[in-house]
């Protein structure tokens, strides 16, 4: 086993801060929605808003980081190896077959991860972000002179925001589970904490995406 440095310091900070914020916002968000009572509605709404602004701030930094470091390329989708990876998770993982994908600094994510994370970044996050801001600034929106904006009802905004929250919840469950599918159950999690990932030295590195 060799070790390579995959996740840089900011990336790890971003990941874990985002994880904490998203879990917290799911908890408070579904309380605001009325699914249960936990912190009390007032506190939930207040903290949900604070967490939202924090997350938006974090995202701004993360977006800046992705583009200045070129790390955004890690999310360019690829079909190469995708069937092999799907086969691995549906069959190979049970039979003890080796993972068909090899992590490298230039290609951190297997093709399925690339797709999933891209979906989060390009669809779920923007939907949450836009619907959440519309939710926060609903009064300003309703007072807008642009009919298309002032005509949107709070119910519609809430519907989009809730739908995005359910998507995020489903992603979170899947993501949490898949983090245990390394060569040991804690391997991936450890890598996300330390930055160092164990790799099979005798397996060839995957071809980095362009």
């Amino acid at each position: 086993m060799a070790r390579i440095y995959i996740f840089k310091r900011f990336e790890r900070f971003w990941h874990w801060a985002q994880a904490a914020l998203i879990i917290f916002m799911l908890l408070t968000g579904f309380e605001i929605h009325g699914s249960y009572a936990l912190l009390g509605w007032e506190k939930a709404a207040d903290l949900h808003t604070t967490a939202a602004w924090t997350l938006i701030g974090l995202w701004l930094f993360a977006i800046f980081w992705h583009f200045t470091t070129g790390e955004w390329r890690q999310y360019i989708p690829t079909s190469k190896n995708i069937v092999a990876v799907m086969n691995y998770y549906s069959v190979g993982i049970f039979t003890g077959a080796p993972h068909p994908f090899r992590v490298s600094q230039l290609s951190k994510h297997n093709p399925l991860q690339r797709l999933a994370y891209l979906l989060v970044k390009l669809f779920i996050n923007p939907l949450i972000w836009v619907s959440g801001l519309a939710y926060l600034y609903y009064n300003e929106l309703a007072a807008s002179k642009i009919a298309a904006l002032s005509g949107i009802s709070l119910g519609t905004i809430a519907l989009a925001h809730t739908a995005a929250a359910f998507m995020m919840l489903a992603f979170l469950i899947g993501h949490l589970y898949l983090s245990t599918t390394g060569h040991t159950p804690l391997a991936h999690i450890k890598a996300m904490i330390t930055g160092w990932e164990d790799v099979d030295a005798d397996k060839p590195a995957a071809v980095p995406a362009k």
Binding site: H33, W41, E42, A45, T162
Partner: protein, 533 residues
């Protein structure tokens, strides 16, 4: 010689010392706020034998006052609303004492005039205007029921034939003590609407005479100490802020002194403006849909005086075992049954009902058709909707009643209740006679048949504003089964009935299926990895 100088010096010091002291500590004269002392007016230095005599004296200086009063609803008891309905106590029917018509002797003790005992009353008479009832400061001014607004100036037997001697009030002293209106003068009528303390409004009763902060943050006797007129700022005796023409939504700015405004001074916004919440700015986002009163008057009848929530006239007329009119009281001593009126349900600390309200109120008039297929009859209807752009969610008191009507002519009826005559219901307990007399008095047809019909009336809740710390909390409405559960056509975060059922069902189903999927996958890994070992 020396002794002489010493004595002179001593005397001088004794004489001068007080003068020096007086110069350094002048005794302040009590500063009067008014520029006039009514005890010094010649016109008031006389014995008065009646109310109109006092008014005549008032008008000798305040030459235009009666003319101003003649233009008020307080005088006319008549108001034409924007829909063209003729409203006002003179003609309206409610579901409390029903109507002052044919009962003027009793009811019109709350008219700001003297002697409105029937339809011969002269509404153009200046001396018939009662100045004192609003401007008394002694608390001794009384207009007893039965005298049509007149006062007892000379000690007399009252009611006549009762054997009770009522002392005359000292009109001279009262007239010399007049000043601005107070919570007591307005309250003398407005606290007692519907026939008793707190009966009618729910947000106005005698507890507002000197309220604690918790009961009314503005009128707080030891705090801001508002009078009614602090908000109901009159101009030329015209009082703004009538429930016949309510302002449901005020989009105007807070009023600055010296500036002219088109908006009325009685609304919350007239002082607090459009964005009054400084600490939690999100609360300002509610003001486009929710009236201030909805959150800031968490309950009405909070001052220890109950209000009537329902009144069933159909059970009136029961006699007790002693053959006398029956009265039943609750544990606190408040009547819940009276032979002359029927059954009541009282309420204290009542949570209001909530309605979309745009300021338009439509009334069921004496001429309008009612029938038992459309119960309860809406004595008045608050108009409004989520989408008309003029409505806010308002707290209201819904008064439920059961009152006499004419099933043949299909109209609500006016019974003659108060009086010393054979036809008055409160004397003879005979509905036939009472209704026949009442309807004859107002000159409207009566078939001779009567029945009882359920009615509802709606009253705005706008007084008894609580301190901010007692305002509603988010969860009071942002929840399923909350205060606004029944308010339609608005999305309230946290209210389950607003959720798209399909989304919640699908969302949780996907989450649970994902969880089951990964758990199954994990279980498979565990089992198979053990087998492989």
């Amino acid at each position: 010689m020396r002794t002489g100088i010493f004595v002179v010096a001593l005397l001088a010091s004794m004489l001068l010392a007080p003068a020096v002291n007086a110069a350094s500590e002048p005794v302040p004269a009590k500063l009067l706020k008014s520029t006039s002392d009514h005890t010094k007016f010649k016109a008031l230095q006389q014995e008065f034998n009646s109310g109109p005599e006092v008014t005549k004296a008032c008008l000798s200086c305040h030459t235009e006052a009666a003319k101003q009063l003649h233009q008020t609803e307080h005088w006319k008891w008549e108001y034409k609303n924007p829909q063209g309905q003729l409203l006002g106590k003179k003609t309206l029917i409610n579901n409390f004492c029903i109507s002052p018509a044919s009962n003027e002797g009793a009811c019109n003790s709350c008219h700001i005039g003297y002697g409105w005992k029937d339809d011969t009353f002269d509404f153009t008479s200046e001396v018939n205007v009662d100045c004192i009832v609003c401007h008394d400061t002694t608390g001794n001014y009384r207009k007893p029921a039965g005298l049509a607004g007149n006062v007892i100036a000379k000690t007399m037997e009252f009611p006549p034939g009762s054997g009770k001697i009522v002392k005359g009030i000292n009109l001279k002293k009262i007239a010399q003590s007049v000043a601005k209106t107070s919570r007591d003068t307005c309250g003398a009528c407005h606290f007692y609407g519907g026939g008793g303390d707190g009966v009618k409004h729910g947000d106005m009763d005698s507890s507002l005479a000197a309220p604690e902060k918790e009961v009314d943050v503005h009128m707080d006797a030891l705090g801001l100490n508002f009078t009614c007129a602090t908000c109901h700022m009159t101009k030329g005796h015209q009082v703004p802020g009538s429930r016949y023409a309510p302002t449901a939504q005020d989009k105007g700015a807070a009023h600055l002194r010296g500036k002219e405004y088109k908006t009325i001074p009685t609304t919350c916004q007239a002082c607090h403006g459009q964005a009054p919440h400084k600490k939690i700015a999100k609360l300002n986002d509610h003001t486009d849909k929710v009236a201030c009163q909805t959150c800031h008057i968490p309950a009405f009848a909070r001052g220890g005086v109950p209000t009537k929530m329902s009144w069933d006239w159909s059970t009136a007329g029961k006699m007790g075992p002693d053959g006398k009119p029956l009265t039943i009281k609750d544990a606190k001593g408040h009547p819940i049954y009276m032979a002359i009126k029927g059954d009541f349900v009282l309420g204290e600390d009542v949570v209001p009902d909530y309605r979309w309200f745009n300021g338009t109120v439509t009334y069921t008039l004496r001429s309008d058709k009612v029938d038992k297929n459309n119960e309860p009859v809406q004595i008045n209807r608050y108009e409004g909707s989520a989408s008309d752009g003029k409505s806010l969610i308002w707290p209201v008191k819904i008064m439920r009643g059961k009152q006499p009507f004419d099933p043949v002519n299909k109209t609500l009826v006016v019974p003659h209740t108060a009086g010393n005559d054979d036809t008055a219901y409160w004397t003879n307990f005979n509905w036939d006679k009472a209704i026949a007399k009442g309807m004859a008095t107002i000159g409207e047809p009566y078939s001779g048949k009567f029945d009882f019909i359920s009615t509802e009336s709606t009253w705005p809740i706008t007084h008894m504003v609580a301190p901010a710390k007692n305002a509603l909390r988010c969860r009071d409405c942002h929840a399923s089964g909350g205060r606004l559960e029944k308010v339609p056509d608005i999305y309230i975060p946290g209210r389950g009935s607003d959720h798209a059922r399909w989304l919640d069902t699908a969302g949780w189903a996907i989450a649970v299926l994902t969880l089951l999927g990964v758990l199954g996958h994990g279980l498979g890994r565990v089992i198979l990895s053990k087998r492989n070992h």
